[in-house]
Structures are given as structure tokens and as C-alpha cells.
Symmetry: C2
Subunit: 290 residues, 2 copies
């Protein structure tokens, strides 16, 4: 399978890395980038990630054979709206957003052929952003979760699945609601917790509260260096699931605080050991591919 003209809306870490991977796989002939920042688009062209670019979503998708949306969740409505009057009925559309029910809702609201939209979420990334940070190997051996619906067009589904496979991803299908719940736990919650922890330490006083922070702190807070706008959009788009996980997390913290307060050494050791056991088991099973 080969695509003549791919349009990548949002040429950042994810969009840029998909473009690089598909080029390397010779899966695509021509790539048009769409974005707002001229500097980033020029740089992407210099680096050979895209062949040309435009600021205009409608113009770009008019002659597209396939469209990848790789913008923050907060921009989905305006991107779909701009595509609506310009996209042909046969063109498969996919995305790379972190929350899938929101993507489906917006597609149904705006697109004339929402059954050609096949939502995808590649479980890959770094805390860096922009085309400059992209690389062709980002998706290799990583999960890419597709969440098609019952009425999704089978051809679009095949093309989109082939595209993600061509990036090196391990493609898996899942229900959109299940995806959002699962990712809220293992991805969205840790990001929120990292941001909250850094802010708590900031307010904790002293001239330089971070002075004695060490390797554990560095790793724990690495994801707090992620894009604030992107994560604002994600937690708002996945509001209900994130709030559920936040509640569960705050309950766990309350249990630990209570055990410390009452000097319940046994209870603390049990809670900590349970976590260590689960984390070690996870690393044993899944850590090898990270």
C-alpha cells in the first residue's frame, strides 16, 4: 500500500515522527504539513520531514489522499470544522490524540463523512515538542491503539491500520471508552500528579526548595516538563475519567496519611510493598520494550 499525498495537520513531535517514519518506509510520496508557526514549518521542510506546507487546513485537505491530525485536543473542533467543506468522501482520516471519545465526538459533530475517521493513539512520546524533536524510530514496537466504531468504514480502517503499522507500531483495537479510562490511569493521572507535586514543593518554602532534589525527584517529575497546553487539553477532553482516577489517587494518599498519623507501621509497609510488587511485576512483563 502506498499513499500519494498525505496531509499532516500539526507538524510537532508526533506528526513529524509519523512523517519521518512513513518516508523511511517509502509508504508515502508527498507530505504536506499544516500548522500555525511558520518557523516550525520551515524547519520541518528544511529537515525533509514535509515537502511543502500551508497555514490553511481547508486548502491542504482538498487534494489529500489521507489526513493525519496531530494537534492538541483543544484544536480538534477548529481543525475538523475547517476540513468539513473541503475533504473528499473517500479520504481516510486518522489522528494521534490521547483521548478517543472526545476525538469521535468532534468528528461526528463536524465531518461530513465521520465513518472515514479512524481514531488512533500511538503510546509514544517524549517530553520534548516541535518538528525538531521528531524522529523516525519513535513508534517502533510501541502500542498504537485504534478505536474504530461499529459504523467505521472498513476500507478507511484498513488504510489507517496499515499506516500505523508502517511507522513500526504494534496496532491493537479497543473500545474508545475503555481506552480513555485506561490511559487516564497510567498516563493522564501521572502527569497531573507530577505537575501538582512540583507546585507543592515550590510552595514548601526555603530559598531554594529544590536544592537537594536528586535522581528520584528528577525521574518522578520528568513529565512535569511536558507541554502545559497539551496536557490542559487532554485532561479537559478526558474530564470524567481523569477525575475518577484523581479521586482514587487522593483516596490512596489519604490512606497513607492516616497510617502515618496513627503510626500504623504494618499498614504502611503493606501498602508500600503492594505498590513495589505491582510495579516490579509490570516492569518485568512490559518494561523490556520501553
Amino acid at each position: 500500500m502506498k499513499i500519494d499525498r498525505l496531509v499532516v495537520i500539526g507538524v510537532g513531535l508526533i506528526g513529524g515522527s509519523v512523517a519521518r517514519a512513513l518516508r523511511r518506509a517509502r509508504w508515502v510520496e508527498h507530505i504536506t504539513g499544516v500548522g500555525r508557526g511558520r518557523e516550525n514549518l520551515d524547519r520541518a521542510r528544511e529537515l525533509g520531514i514535509i515537502d511543502d506546507w500551508t497555514h490553511d487546513v481547508g486548502e491542504a485537505v482538498r487534494t489529500a489522499d489521507m489526513v493525519l491530525i496531530a494537534v492538541p485536543m483543544g484544536a480538534y473542533a477548529s481543525v475538523f470544522a475547517a476540513m468539513a467543506d473541503n475533504i473528499s468522501s473517500h479520504v481516510p482520516v486518522t489522528d494521534a490524540g490521547s483521548t478517543k471519545q472526545h476525538a469521535l465526538r468532534e468528528a461526528r459533530r463536524w465531518l461530513p463523512y465521520p465513518e472515514r475517521f479512524v481514531p488512533a493513539h500511538p503510546i509514544a512520546g517524549t517530553e520534548r515538542s516541535g518538528a525538531e524533536a521528531s524522529f523516525a524510530e519513535l513508534f517502533e514496537d510501541r502500542w498504537c491503539i485504534l478505536t474504530p466504531e461499529a459504523d467505521t468504514d472498513p476500507h478507511a480502517r484498513n488504510v489507517v491500520e496499515a499506516m500505523w503499522r508502517a511507522t513500526g507500531s504494534r496496532v491493537i483495537h479497543m473500545d474508545a471508552a475503555e481506552h480513555d479510562d485506561c490511559l487516564a490511569a497510567v498516563s493522564h493521572l501521572p502527569h497531573v500528579a507530577a505537575y501538582a507535586l512540583v507546585n507543592a514543593v515550590c510552595k514548601s518554602g526555603g530559598a531554594d526548595p529544590f536544592r537537594f532534589a536528586a535522581g528520584g525527584f528528577r525521574d518522578f517529575t520528568r513529565i512535569a516538563s511536558s507541554s502545559p497546553e497539551m496536557w490542559r487539553d487532554i485532561v479537559l477532553a478526558n474530564r470524567d475519567a481523569v477525575l475518577r482516577k484523581l479521586d482514587a489517587f487522593r483516596d490512596e494518599l489519604a490512606s497513607i496519611a492516616h497510617a502515618i498519623e496513627t503510626g500504623d507501621a504494618e499498614g504502611l509497609a503493606q501498602m508500600f510493598a503492594q505498590a513495589k510488587h505491582a510495579r516490579d511485576a509490570w516492569l518485568e512483563t512490559h518494561g523490556g520494550r520501553l
Copy 2:
């Protein structure tokens, strides 16, 4: 300066690494290890970390020129008690525990010459434990915080400071209460949060809730693989400060949950950006030595 006979009580990651570093620096002639686990002590001797070992704290310290305590905080009382009747008045004692007010309290309660006890906390470690995991470079260019009191013996203080410098540490002096508050924020709180988060995800349902966890999750939860007993002891020994930081953290989480609930995009972006800024600035200033 050189010590003839150093006694290391607790030959784990920290005790073993101090022994290795001092040997490499030719700062010590003979090292006796004290511990409970025979297998670990035999292995430490095989590896050349210690010259001999005993299970008996009292016997070991009787002929010591210097003593390093590197056991979990929960064992301090019994170790000091066993030292009390056996240690000579001139022998400097130091430790490597993560909470300093607790160490000072126990030393005053048990030791006949508590003014020879110079509390220390080397800010270094990995999530691994045992003599096998120790290495001579662990302390190189890391902070080691000493928290002597007004009545601490100057000679003991000099010897202890020289010992930590010989491991490669950057020695700094600090008030014990200030130390405990500061470390509760940047070290004890992240550990508690990592344990709590893993437990929250475990209970979050699904056959394999961790299946799609990726690099962010791995780094965020790395410290949840730390020793449960050690961290139980630390949070109990530093009870008040840890509870204060936990409260502050739970407040931050509540603020974020409220912003998500009310759809306050601006507030979320602000909180996340503040955290990113602080974390990036910290990494810029201090990250190089990690």
C-alpha cells in the same frame, strides 16, 4: 587522616558504597561489617567490601575507631542501645539516615556520649538494595548534609566530615529540622506519591491496568520499586514534616481537580506552566550533577 578500624553497621547499598569508596581512597585500614543477613555479609566479604563481619553490634564497636550506622531508621533505637555499653568515649559515630531529628533523638536517648554522634545524610541512592548493589562512585559530587548540634564534639565533627569528603561527597552543614522539612518535600513526598499512584492504578480495574503504561509511567514510578520497609521507617521517623508536605500536595491535587471539574482551562494551563517552569529551571541549575 586515616582510620584503623571502621565498623559499618548495615552493609547495604549505602553502607557498602561508603566502605568501597573509603577503601578506594585508602582512608581506612580495616572494615568490620555488622548485619543480620548472613548471605549478604558473606557476599560483602567475598566482594572485598568488608574484611570480616559479626551479627553482634556490641562486640563490633568495642574495638572500633569509628562507626557508621547505615540501617533503616526503624532499627536506630536497637542499634544505639546495643552500642551504648560497648563504645569508647573517643569514638566518632555517624549515620546515613534520611531523617535527622529522629537520629539525634535516638542518639541522645541511648548513647553515653551523644556529642560524638555527627548525623549525616548523603543525598544519593538507587532503588536497589543490598551489598551487591553498592559501588564506590555512588557519592561522587553528591551532597552530604551534616546536621551537628551546638554541643557536638569538634573533633568528631572533623573526622566525620573528612570521612564523607573521602567518599567524594560535597559536604554541607544544616539545621536538622530544616533538613527534615526540605527532604520531606523533595524526597519523602515523591516516594509516598509514587507508591500511592501505583496502588490507585492497580485498583483502577481491567485485566492488566498497566498494559499501556509507557516511559512516563516507568520514570514516574521508578521510586515505587524502593524498599517498602526502609520507606515505612523514613515516613514514620519524619512524621510531622511528611504529613505537612502530603497536605500541601493534596491541596494542589484538589485545585487541579476543581479546575478540571469547572472547565477552567486558563487556571489549568497556569498551574501546569508554573510547574514546568520550576522543573525546567531546577534541571538547568542542578540537573547537571545528577
